[in-house]
């Protein structure tokens, strides 16, 4: 098991759009890293470059002491020789091979004997509950079963680095939950390094030991999940993680609110371009009891909580709370902010550290 290190990776698919833009990052050994980001930000491309399915335009990729790729020395290890596991969003099971054939394919490439293949197959069959499927073809399996076969195929050769590209996105929500815990268990028992691509932040938060948030070909922040949530380094990360989204208050457009917030956290308003407050950190109180007053616009019960929209001097803030709201629509209420939960971002959309 080793760490994976990217150095100044640039990948351009022709045209002027850059898929991966000068990316340097180290993914520590044994971690379960989630690559999180909006569609088209370069997650898949990054993964495919690590796997060797794409070649970077420039930069270096190291895995432990092996150089997968280097544009400095010209070294390049073929995908076939990188010995890693990759799982595709579409699973890419071979439709013309049975479950057994699919799973032992990698072992066959390593010229393993029949007994070894059978032995490993039986282990995997048990681990992934694939009994009775041995001679079926992928088209005769359900989505969840196909996925387990794909996982088993990847793990058959015991790779120490697993790359998974949105492996759960085709599943229904129950199966998704099940597979998440399965993956987490696997990570514990195998102790391998996993890089997992998703654009579902819930998945990232629950699975990862660290999350890397990507935006436009760059990693904006890589940290423990709660750290990402509580201390987003940039406006993008703050907005991308959390649902409903963090409330963003522009200090020019929403002057009054911004003034109130800057007083609350004791920062010069001129330094701040945007403030951010997570919906669950605000509290609704009686009129004039909070930091500022507003009018209730919308009330949406979700079952577990209430999402309440409050208009404060023309700016809609969303609050979320597990208690029923204290007023009806069009009532005026007060809002209370906790200073430690108010974030501020400068002109470059970077977090302003508290002094």
């Amino acid at each position: 098991m080793s760490e994976i290190k990217l150095k100044s990776i640039i990948k351009n698919f022709g045209g002027n759009s850059i898929a991966v833009d000068n990316l340097s990052e180290t993914f520590p050994a044994g971690e379960f890293v989630c690559l999180l980001g909006p569609s088209g930000c370069g997650k898949t491309t990054t993964l495919r470059m690590i796997a060797g399915l794409e070649t970077p335009d420039s930069g270096e990729i190291f895995y432990g002491d092996k150089t997968f790729f280097s544009s400095k020395t010209g070294e390049l290890i073929k995908t076939e020789n990188r010995n890693l596991g990759l799982m595709f969003q579409s699973y890419a099971l071979w439709p013309h091979m049975t479950v057994y054939k699919n799973i032992v394919f990698g072992l066959e490439m390593q010229k393993k004997s029949l007994e070894e293949k059978d032995k490993r197959y039986l282990e995997l069959e048990k681990l992934f509950h694939l009994e009775n499927f041995r001679d079926r073809y992928p088209s005769e399996l359900s989505g969840g079963q196909q996925q387990r076969v794909a996982l088993a195929r990847m793990l058959a050769v015991k790779p120490s680095l697993l790359l998974l590209d949105e492996p759960l996105s085709n599943l229904d929500s129950n199966l998704r939950l099940e597979m998440r815990s399965e993956l987490k268990r696997l990570h514990h028992s195998l102790g391998c390094t996993i890089i997992f691509v998703t654009h579902d932040q819930m998945e990232a938060m629950t699975l990862a030991t660290s999350i890397a948030v990507m935006n436009e070909g760059k990693i904006e922040q890589i940290d423990k999940p709660m750290e990402i949530y509580n201390n987003p380094k940039s406006l993008f990360v703050a907005k991308f993680v959390g649902s409903p989204q963090m409330n963003i208050v522009n200090s020019k457009k929403d002057e009054k609110l911004a003034t109130c917030l800057s007083k609350k956290i004791n920062i010069e308003k001129e330094k701040v371009k945007n403030f951010g407050i997570r919906p669950e950190t605000m509290k609704m109180v009686k009129q004039d009891d909070g930091d500022i007053n507003g009018t209730i616009e919308t009330i949406q019960p979700t079952g577990a909580d209430w999402i309440v929209g409050v208009n404060v001097n023309g700016k809609s803030l969303f609050l979320i709370s597990s208690d029923p709201p204290i007023g009806k629509e069009n009532d005026t209420v007060g809002i209370f902010f906790k200073p430690e939960d108010c974030h501020s971002f400068d002109d470059n959309d970077l977090r302003i550290l508290k002094n």
Binding site: K78, A92, G106, M109, Q110
Partner: protein
């Protein structure tokens, strides 16, 4: 100075090293390069040679007129367009071609539209069977219709056995037996299945909801058809129109069989006579004209498709239109549809078959029937052996299988290889070039292409020996002509599979050849079978492409049937055509069985 120089040299070496290892990593690239080289020669060289032929003096003319062999000249251009014989070799044939194409297309289009509407949308009797039966004319070689016509309507004007009508005592007039009328009708009957298929598929794609909406406004069936369905069919109509015109212009057999007796020449037959009289300059000029017409039609097609794109109905739930009740018209329309089947498919078959079984045409007494034309050692009155004992037919049969077979296998494999290179090297120059160049032969009518090959391979050039008179030339020209269809279907087959199955193998340690053999080939098995059988079918029926390239010993079944006709051995020609029809139908049957695809999807060939 020194250091900077050495680092730049160093970085150059490094990037070279990366490029090289990428190359080794992707044999796709090498495959692409090899394909580019081969195709450039096979596709571009004939085109270049035909252009140069059109303006260079031939050796023969050089000797006659005292010029230099290969000298630049407008002689041939003049000969075709302005000389005293230009009327005969170009202008009249052009006029005739346009006339015949116009009427043939008109009839084919109308028949196709009416039949498609009846079969897809009404309760006409036997609609299930008609859908298949009406495609049968497509499976017969184009000379089947023409020879059947001749067998039926021939009069005493030309030699050989009597026509069937004549033997009943009715003498068909010349205008019915030969010339524009029968040519137009036969072409129309050969080509209406295209129109039928394309209209049927367009009709089944029209979203039924569009019609339902109209009927909620109170529109009756008639109004729905005239206001909604027919206008939506305009783009299809345009495509059918252009396709049929292009095909009728390139057809050789029908005008050759039905036009020659009346000295009615079309461009295709005029080109053929020029080839026979070794007038390679004129051949080149006429071939260029034919290609330009082809190019023009293609451009119009592209333009029409663009223009009418907004008419493309998206979706359609795949709900079948409820067949509308025809009421009192049910019987007449049913009879109409079945009569068309009878005339276009069953009729020719029966006429051809009967003619080969009756010793004397028109005599239906039992004793007159026999297998002499098939199995006889010496057919009375012809001094020829029967089909099954004729060495010529056996050679032609072998050649047909050998040529169409090898061409279709090469074509199928090449098509998939091109598909592989194009899809796996996206955005590269190679990919774009392969795509374009493999499409280029589409622009040239078969006759023109054959003429180009004739001039290119008549003599040895560089490492390539003179191929004229060899089987390989026929295979080669067939491969190149069918390449546009093969490469298109190869590209779409590769697109469908996508790179992932292969990449999954790569990750698990499978090298290039391993991936090809254990993953890609099995996945593309049925695509490959289709890619082989479709050109095989076309190849078995092919005449215009090969007719000027065959030499004694390399005759195919199709050209052999023409030879028989030339000698007036009508029955033998008919029997040969029947053999072709049977082989084609068996191939279609296998195709349906093995791959569950129908002809409609492979109409290109």
């Amino acid at each position: 100075m020194f250091t900077s120089n050495s680092t730049s040299q160093n970085s150059f070496l490094v990037s070279l090293k990366i490029k090289l290892s990428k190359l080794l990593l992707q044999p796709t690239f090498l495959i692409g390069v090899v394909l580019v080289i081969i195709l450039s020669y096979l596709v571009i060289a004939p085109i270049v040679s035909i252009f140069s032929n059109s303006v260079s003096l031939t050796m023969m003319d050089a000797m006659l007129s005292g010029g230099k062999d290969g000298e630049f000249t407008y002689k041939y251009v003049d000969r075709v367009f302005t000389s005293s014989i230009s009327e005969k070799i170009f202008w009249i044939p052009l006029k005739n071609s346009i006339t015949v194409s116009f009427f043939a297309t008109l009839i084919a289009l109308t028949l196709g539209l009416i039949l498609a509407s009846l079969v897809t949308s009404t309760n006409i009797l036997g609609r299930k069977y008609l859908g298949f039966l009406l495609i049968i004319p497509y499976m017969l070689p184009s000379q089947a219709m023409a020879t059947a016509w001749l067998t039926m309507f021939k009069n005493r004007k030309i030699s050989g056995p009597q026509g069937m009508l004549e033997s009943f005592g009715i003498t068909p007039p010349d205008w019915l037996a030969y010339g524009p009328l029968p040519i137009s009708i036969c072409m129309a009957l050969s080509y209406f299945p295209f129109a039928f298929l394309l209209f049927s598929s367009a009709l089944s794609k029209i979203d039924i909801q569009l019609e339902e909406v109209a009927s909620t406004f109170g529109a009756k069936t008639k109004a729905i058809w005239s206001k909604i369905i027919l206008p939506l069919l305009i783009p299809t109509t345009m495509s059918v129109l252009l396709l049929t015109v292009a095909r009728t212009l390139g057809t050789f057999a029908t005008p050759y069989i039905l036009g020659t007796p009346a000295k009615y020449t079309l461009l295709s037959t005029s080109l053929y006579s020029s080839v026979r009289s070794n007038d390679s300059g004129v051949v080149a000029v006429i071939a260029i004209v034919l290609s330009l017409i082809g190019l023009m039609l293609l451009l119009v097609d592209i333009w029409v498709v663009r223009k009418w794109q907004r008419f493309v109905t998206v979706g359609g739930k795949g709900i079948k239109r409820q067949p509308s009740k025809l009421g009192v018209f049910r019987m007449p329309t049913t009879i109409f549809a079945w009569i068309i089947f009878l005339i276009a498919a069953l009729g020719p078959f029966i006429v051809l078959a009967l003619s080969t079984l009756m010793r004397e045409p028109g005599n239906f007494s039992f004793s007159n029937f026999g297998l002499a034309y098939w199995t006889g050692v010496n057919v009375p009155g012809m001094d020829q052996p029967g089909i099954f004992t004729s060495p010529e037919v056996i050679t032609a049969l072998k050649n047909s299988f050998l040529i169409a077979g090898s061409a279709s296998i090469i074509c199928g494999v090449l098509g998939l290889l091109i598909g592989y290179a194009v899809v796996r090297l996206p955005g590269t120059l190679i990919s774009g070039f392969l795509r374009q160049i493999s499409f280029l032969p589409y622009l040239m009518p078969g006759l023109a292409f054959a003429a180009a090959y004739l001039s290119l391979f008549a003599v040895a050039r560089g490492p390539i020996p003179a191929l004229y008179g060899s089987i390989s030339l026929l295979i080669l020209v067939m491969v190149v002509t069918y390449l546009p269809y093969a490469s298109r279907s190869g590209i779409s087959a590769m697109m469908q599979v996508g790179p992932e199955p292969e990449e999954a193998g790569m990750v698990l340690g499978a090298g290039f050849w391993r991936r090809i053999t254990t993953i890609l080939a099995p996945l593309q098995k049925s695509a490959l079978i289709i890619a082989i059988i479709l050109p095989f079918i076309t190849g078995m029926k092919e005449l215009s492409l090969v007719v000027m390239l065959v030499t004694p010993g390399t005759e195919l079944l199709t050209t052999q049937s023409i030879r028989f006709l030339d000698f007036g051995y009508t029955q033998l020609a008919n029997a040969t055509i029947l053999i072709i029809g049977v082989v084609v139908m068996i191939s279609v049957f296998i195709l349906n069985r093995v791959t569950k695809t129908n002809l409609a999807s492979g109409l290109g060939g």
